[in-house]
């Protein structure tokens, strides 16, 4: 992981509605956006940022790019990501919602082969408070500090960051791993990154019902994470969905060895309990649990 104020950043899809909304905010935060790419806009500038038709053309004005933030429309994200990896960029942030899963499969095969870190898709991206903004996190929710935030949500991440900030607990980094079914990087990968990150003293994990990401994360925390972790899960009172009897999905989850109730609030709460991870019953309780966890780990 390399996200600092010195990082050189590219924005792909800079001329898209989504890109043009967020680029000024990222720039005002101090993010060093060296160039943008949008087909057909080569030779122009947007927000004083030079725009190119191809990623490889950007390498004429800079020796390297640390991270690219991709705002391209859903069906163009795969191409944008392959182009970025081909140009040697090794950190990709995919903001766009609605990338087809099979495009993500191809994208991630290439990412694994090139050892590229992918965040998203359908993600608010990454913020390192007072250093760099790579995505849609609203800056006023964040302040620097010792808490690492990893989440499947967007606006709920902002909510939790704001609760921490109001309680005087700043953040070392906040990452939205994405709301889609296929994640570029998982909770486990980010838990490991934050475990090794010197500025992070405690980790807050924000999950949701559905899928098995939280159960997998809980197993991973129990096995390998020494830093204190606090969790919150949205949707715990949601009525159980009518079983659509997707034999395929049920079978896949059973084979993963996590039981038939996988994805429900009960299953996730039980997994965190087993891993001895305290779970806040509401966002406003998170700061208190974090303070307790920090106090405990500092005395140990």
């Amino acid at each position: 992981m390399n996200f600092t104020a010195d990082s050189k950043v590219l924005v792909q899809g800079i001329a898209e509605a989504l890109g043009s909304l967020h680029v000024p905010i990222m720039r005002a935060y101090g993010t060093s956006i060296v160039a943008g790419v949008s087909a057909g806009y080569g030779g122009t500038t947007i927000e004083d940022i030079p725009v190119f038709d191809l990623v490889e053309q950007v390498l004429d004005i800079t020796d390297h790019i640390d991270t690219t933030v991709i705002f391209a429309p859903p069906y163009e994200v795969l191409d944008a990501a392959l182009e970025a990896m081909a140009a040697g960029i090794r950190q990709l942030i995919l903001i766009t919602e609605g990338v087809p899963p099979l495009d993500m499969v191809r994208l991630l095969r290439e990412a694994e082969a090139t050892e590229t870190l992918v965040v998203g898709s359908s993600s608010p991206g990454v913020i390192v408070p007072d250093q760099i903004l790579l995505g849609t996190h609203p800056p006023y929710c964040y302040t620097p500090g010792p808490v690492g935030l990893i989440s499947r949500s967007g606006t709920l991440t902002y909510e939790v960051a704001l609760e921490l900030t109001r309680a005087g607990l700043g953040q070392s980094i906040a990452v939205g791993i994405g709301g889609d079914r296929i994640h570029g990087s998982s909770f486990q990968q980010w838990l490991q990154i934050l475990e090794e990150d010197d500025r992070t003293e405690a980790i807050v994990l924000i999950g949701e019902i559905g899928g098995d990401s939280e159960e997998q994360a809980a197993l991973y925390i129990a096995e390998t994470i020494d830093k204190p972790v606090v969790a919150y899960i949205a949707g715990t009172t949601a009525p159980k969905e009518q079983t659509s009897s997707h034999a395929g999905a049920i079978i896949a989850s059973q084979i993963a060895g996590l039981g038939a109730e996988i994805g429900t609030a009960t299953s996730k709460l039980a997994a965190f309990k087993q891993a001895k991870v305290p779970v806040a019953d509401r966002p406003s309780k998170i700061p208190k649990l974090v303070e307790q966890a920090l106090a405990k780990s500092r005395t140990e």
Partner: protein, 393 residues
């Protein structure tokens, strides 16, 4: 979203996956023009796996029986749903029944092939026989052979089953599907394969580049009634309407209401701010559409609006709410609004709405407490009966 069986089988047929001769039946009298020889199986076209156990599948020997059975099936609700269409299919006597599927595995982030020699309605109870193969690189037929061998097949059957899995994979990949499932796959004594039932789940995000599938889904009448906006909208029984941006925040808000003993009736999720169409004016339009949807719910007494972050300022949101209110008919009985906002220009937004007697909160917990307080107060009072409310409107 799922395709109905007859639609799935049409895609199987196009891909060269063997299916029985069949005919779509829109009305019982269609059976007079049946082109398949008796005996025939009539199958209710609904989205559920348990229709056989519930009486949605009947075997018939002649036209008179067939019409009577069809009438019965058209009037038989399965998990609360009536079929719009039946499928008439030739009867088939399998010697054995297998299970095959291609789906996506979020853990390995790869397509997954699944297969078992023990398919049929009890497939979920014989999971120990299920075999799986992760397609970790570009698909090639050896992945399908690997599955067939893991299933314990040999010789010609190994080759024919793996050839079928290969076709299923191509269907899965070419059509951007979430699931292709054949259960049961009939195996005759001579080793002939036949897909007796099939399930296809399309991927909603990919529909924009799969016009044929989008057209197929549009023909399903049960799904035509959904609101055609890009809002996620769900209605339940209760007296609180909820309007949020983002799925996680919506769920968290509903959780807090439930925990405070509130009764959320319906909710609207305006979507996160990384939607492709997201723009300032677009979010304002969706906010108005969301409020329009919520006030259609008769039981809603209070609408709790909880909007966090995004590029739209609190003042812009307040202005949108104010202008929406201005355009409501004067005699319309509107629910009370409770607003919670996080964003730029909070004081200005709060001031604007406060002037209209709408409270704006900084904290989510406070807004929840106010919402639940208002609804439980209404419930405690004897209040006007609903019929009077309607008469005065």
């Amino acid at each position: 979203m799922d395709l109905l069986e007859y639609q799935a089988k049409e895609l199987f047929r196009q891909m060269g996956i063997p299916v029985l001769p069949s005919q779509r039946i829109d009305h019982p009298t269609d059976l007079k023009g049946l082109r398949i020889p008796f005996p025939v199986v009539l199958k209710s076209q609904v989205y559920t796996g348990a229709r056989g156990k519930l009486g949605g599948i009947r075997f018939v020997e002649n036209t008179i029986d067939a019409i009577a059975a069809a009438q019965a099936i058209f009037h038989l609700p399965i998990m609360g749903k009536y079929p719009k269409v039946l499928l008439a299919e030739a009867k088939y006597n399998p010697e054995r029944e297998f299970y095959l599927a291609v789906t996506l595995d979020p853990s390995s982030r790869r397509p997954l092939l699944l297969g078992s020699q023990f398919g049929g309605i009890d497939v979920e109870s014989s999971l120990k026989h299920m075999r799986q193969v992760v397609v970790d690189q570009e698909f090639s037929p050896f992945y399908a052979r690997r599955l067939a061998l893991k299933m314990g097949l040999q010789g010609n059957l190994m080759r024919s089953v793996s050839a079928l899995v290969e076709k299923m994979y191509h269907l899965f990949a070419e059509r951007d599907l979430d699931l292709v499932e054949i259960n049961p796959l009939a195996v005759s004594s001579s080793g002939e394969l036949m897909a007796l039932d099939g399930k296809i789940t399309v991927n909603d995000a990919a529909l924009g580049r799969q016009p044929d599938l989008a057209a197929l889904l549009a023909t399903i009448p049960a799904q035509a009634g959904l609101p055609v906006s890009n809002l996620n909208w769900v209605a339940r029984e209760g007296n609180i309407g909820v309007l949020c941006n983002g799925a996680g925040l919506t769920m968290a808000t509903l959780d807090l209401l439930h925990k405070a003993k509130g009764k959320p009736a319906s909710f609207v999720d305006l979507g996160a701010d990384y939607r492709q169409c997201a723009s300032t004016s677009d979010l304002q339009d969706r906010l108005k559409q969301g409020l329009d949807l919520l006030i259609q719910e008769k039981g809603v007494k209070v609408i709790c609006i909880n909007l966090v972050g995004g590029v739209v300022s609190c003042l812009q949101i307040a202005e949108t709410i104010a202008s929406w209110l201005k355009w409501q008919p004067a005699n319309r009985q509107l629910p009370t609004l409770v607003v919670r906002l996080v964003g730029d220009q909070f004081p200005a937004g709060r001031g604007l709405l406060a002037a209209m007697d709408i409270p704006v909160y900084e904290s989510m917990d406070d807004a929840i407490a106010e919402t639940v307080g208002l609804t439980s107060a209404t419930a405690a009072k004897p209040g006007k009966p609903p019929s009077l409310l309607l008469a005065s409107a």
